[in-house]
Symmetry: D2
Subunit: 382 residues, 4 copies
């Protein structure tokens, strides 16, 4: 399946990706996604991580790692296979927390690719961000359900999303650690407005990263996801695996940048020989190999721990933090190896560097992961 | 003058820069430049480095450093003051090498901003790049002058340039170190075609980075710049100061990213306090301060050496290499400090990171500078 | 067994190690080793990697990793368990290459700890070093065996070694890649002189790192180890596992430095709180956690590959290079966290930093590994 | 004078330094110092920074920088010229704060080298360390003077010091920022006991780094240094220049390590050529050149600011922090370049790496400087 995914991505996806320099909206956005997902489905590659009973292929974390990496070689590959953030994490969350009725209504069309989803947690300052406890969006109980008011930012894929999972405060005050609840809602619910796209450096996410407001959005009782006030706990369920699938996809992108750079260096003549034979170029190449190997080794360990039923919060935190930084270094070295062409769209390295950079911030900035790792170490060792 | 430049840039230039996320063509390209240069001229800020007899303000390297840095706070600032690459380096080259007639014809309108210029040296592989000796474009003597044939790449500002300085081989073969000559020509000369823009990650250079072909371009004898076969030597004349003015401009941009990030961190509340009071944020801020200080210290030493009449090839090589890497780190830390907004166009940090990255490649990749520094060290110490 | 090893090391070994600041000769040298090995044998912990038929415990690479790490917590732990370099690698080599008679004579007393061994490969400049092909020591065929002449440097454990494995050139010239043969000899053979100890920064290796000369050393035919001219191939057999057991041992030392630093930071009050609660200290702690986790992840992958019968030359090269650098960083950060006490013998961090540093050079400098990794990448990707 | 210092150090000091691997006590301690200082005095090189009226040469900060660097090439050079810490900083402090009588009694014999001094500020946890406000040693007013009780740690040069400057709390409580006073006392005063030497990794400081206790040490009113309760302010007077002279001396040591490594790399053959011609070696060499140049550039700026009468606390903090880290990198790269010999006493690089490491902790750990730099940046930019 890894080989088939690689072949599919090379044949169907990469040409479009490279033609449009990784700008997914320029390449067609949702229309492109629909077309590519149909092709992936035809080859039996769609939603490989999804629950079998809802139409997915049921791959474990360990099994999906190389498949997701193969898809990630193209910036559009994850969309083509329906394994992109935030959908893939939402699939996981719904499979674990949603009622059967919710799964039928919301999960099934997501797994088939008919629907696309968003996860509305982060907020503009001073709301929830790296510190989720700052959650300020509120849901108040009303007759037959809840009424949500608040403002979210960096909501990936919001523009055009068919389904939203909204995190809102049902008790306590911003700054307190509990009191959050998750709500499901269709994207066309009244009161939900996509205000604007944040113009971020990355351009490969369909639906962008948006500011979204909820004004008296009504969610019926049946669409509460899991138990009231347990939202932060469910966020943890989603978090660990979602971090790792990010790593899988980005490893594929970084690997492609690396291969591009190695081939460039093997072709390019400079100073009387091949660029690839110069020691400083060799150092860049070797450091890429080391960073990629360490990323995959940490990833595999975290996946094994998750597959064994663990929360793996330390292992995923380490793997995510290391990977985000290591893969950015890989992309940066690849740019450097390619010289002038490395900063141009002629080669697929500048765009990969551009898309990777936010990963050191999204899904928890490295600093927050380090803070958490240090506190855990002090707790465990003293 | 530094204060006036800062004020001018803040008032006239930054708003346009931020509105267009640093994309100079989107902001108006040459029309924008013309308008801004008129405003700069009105305030006595135009071409501060230019020879006084041709209308410039005659600042020494040491004097121009803080002025260029102030201009560099905006990505459009150098264009506004007519101190941008490649013009600024071309002004210097013409002032030192051109005949009086050439200076009247070519330098005067450049200093006044009426003209814009390009410097056509680098070529597509396997031609001149990091290794200038690979120069493949040829100039053959013909009746009354020279006929130039060849292809250039990464020619900054080529699209719309009124004046080109072309480096072409007049003797020897690619791979040999001598044999280059510089030629002056108007941009509308027959046979000179701007093939395409390279779609680079940076977007603040008017006229872009282009592929240019010369097909039987005729240059009369009077437009040979300096002596035949001495082109590489003149390139050295241009090189040292041009490296340093790059550093000056980019220091301004990095300083702005830093200030933006510090202010953001001082405002942003997280984990029960100001982001700016968290140790890891303080480390990012302090490292920025150190990198900026070391960049300026190395720059000032190199400028003093240049002003004293030295070639300063070691000092400028060190300052360029250190600065390119240090300023990229400053921009990257600034992005990280601003979290999600750091990768969005809401704050002027992502764009500065994007514009700075190529500086580690342009004007000699860091690796080539290191190679040269190491060989010099071995030569001097053994 | 891991727990028993930890407990044994804590009880029997660490007090002596700390009392003597890791200086093994000051602590007793071979007498200390004999005493500690007797204690380890009494607890069933001696030579855990050794072949069962020769008295070892037969642990696979994967199994021995945590045991060696536990032993490595003390700088004297590997000697106590008879798992130290170069013995441990020599055990492996003899088990794979020696004849039964050689194993009885040379391997059995090594496994029991009665003997100690040296591996005489590296030579003073311009002989074999990072580049083994420069091998200059010669063995000439004589009646009944071979006569060896040459000079070796950095021969670990040479002073007092009962057994030497000598690598000498039996054909070809220095600079050529083949032509080496391995020879077994008792340490008291005529003509073998330990000239001097190199005064290295590390002080935990019994027998030191020595310069050794061979003057007409006679080795009978029966003591040729393996086939003539196949020495470089056997060196490869020894190399991969030996690199990994180095990593295991040093991971234990670095882990101890890290734990020491974390506990210090949790105790030490500064600036109105615990040092461990300051962000920059947390960053050092978290980076240690990440480096240790990545080291172990790469190690486990390489061990699994070796246990499966592979050469694992890429995996062991990556793991060794990453580990050597990462563990040095861990030790350095631990020093920094402990402030003044970090550079004093009051805490066991300065000595661990001192002992670790050479690991980036021994067993192939990082640069040589990178060179090899880069060439492999170019070969595989182009 | 720079040339004469270099020559003197090369001829008189380096041979002893190298013979004893930088261990100053092994080389003779105070007897060595007395002999070398007599030689330095004979060549007019003694105490070049000392006030002319007390027998020094009166060099400004800018003037002394290259002289101190030349002396620092040997680990014993600063002792030979009487420019070592803590004496040199104490000379400065006494020149600025002491009464004329105190200068006659205490400063004059220090400048001539007849006496040696210590500066007793830092204390064992939880006392004064990186956070001076934690000062716990107390001085109580008694008839005719003060009675001091407390315990100090890391008191450089304490063993055998003729003169102590003691920082003790005369008002307030540990944790408060003011309330410290400085006291002068002969080293043989009753109640002053040098408890033990801390066994630190560095071994080039005469008198070691000691734990010292004061039990009812009496200091007459005349030996109060400056005004009561102004001790922290005077510490600042001492601090800035003392940081910079540290940088000067260590730059000399790092420069020597670098030169040693470059020469080694130019001699050593490997892989069919000179080590110095391999790209990764060139990168190490070039990075050393860059780090040394940036260190000197920052140093010169701070010295100019100090010579102009400024406190230069930002400039000296940046220069100290950058230099400590950069020079450690230089030493580490030099070790790596020299391979096995780099970790042995055969070459003077391992010892320089060992001596340099504590500089990232002594005189304020890098983290404390960064904390201070960040707070200043936030204050100035917001």
């Amino acid at each position: 399946m890894v080989a088939r995914t690689e072949e599919f991505v090379r044949r169907e996806v990469l040409p479009l990706d490279d033609e449009h320099d990784g700008d997914v909206e320029a390449a067609g956005g949702d229309a492109l996604r629909t077309r590519l997902q149909a092709a992936a489905a035809a080859e039996g590659l769609l939603t490989p991580h999804g629950p079998v009973e809802y139409g997915g292929l049921g791959l474990s974390m360990t099994e999906r790692a190389p498949v997701f990496e193969a898809a990630g070689r193209s910036l559009f590959g994850p969309a083509a296979l329906n394994i992109n953030a935030p959908d893939e994490g939402n699939h996981h969350l719904l499979a674990h927390v949603a009622t059967e009725a919710q799964r039928e209504r919301y999960l099934r069309p997501l797994v088939s690719g008919r629907h696309r989803s968003a996860f509305a947690m982060t907020e503009p300052s001073p709301g929830a961000g790296a510190d989720p406890g700052a959650l300020a969006t509120r849901a108040e109980p009303v007759d037959g359900g809840w009424r949500i008011n608040g403002r979210k930012a960096f909501i990936t894929g919001a523009d055009g999303a068919d389904t939203f999972i909204i995190m809102a405060r049902t008790s306590g005050e911003p700054g307190e650690s509990g009191g959050a609840t998750m709500f499901l809602t269709p994207g066309d619910v009244e009161g939900l407005v996509v205000e604007r796209h944040l113009r971020t450096m990355d351009r490969s996410m369909i639906g962008g990263h948006c500011v979204v407001t909820f004004t008296d959005v009504f969610v019926p009782e049946d669409d509460v996801l899991g138990a009231v006030d347990e939202g932060f706990r469910y966020a943890q369920v989603r978090l660990g695996p979602a971090r790792m699938t990010h790593v899988m996809r980005w490893t594929g992108a970084a690997q492609r940048a690396h291969e591009t750079a190695v081939r460039y260096a093997a072709d390019r003549q400079a100073f009387g020989g091949r660029l690839a034979d110069l020691g400083m170029a060799q150092q860049l190449i070797a450091d890429n190999e080391i960073d990629l190997a360490a990323t995959r080794a940490l990833l595999r360990e975290a996946c094994a721990e998750l597959d064994a039923g663990g929360r793996a919060s330390k292992a995923t935190s380490i793997a995510k933090t290391f990977a985000a930084e290591a893969l950015c270094r890989v992309a940066d070295r690849s740019v450097q190896l390619c010289g002038g062409l490395g900063v141009a769209a002629d080669l697929p390295v500048a765009k990969i560097a551009r898309e990777l950079r936010p990963f050191r911030i999204y899904d928890g900035p490295s600093e927050v992961h380090r803070w958490s790792l240090a506190r855990r170490a002090v707790r465990e060792l003293t």
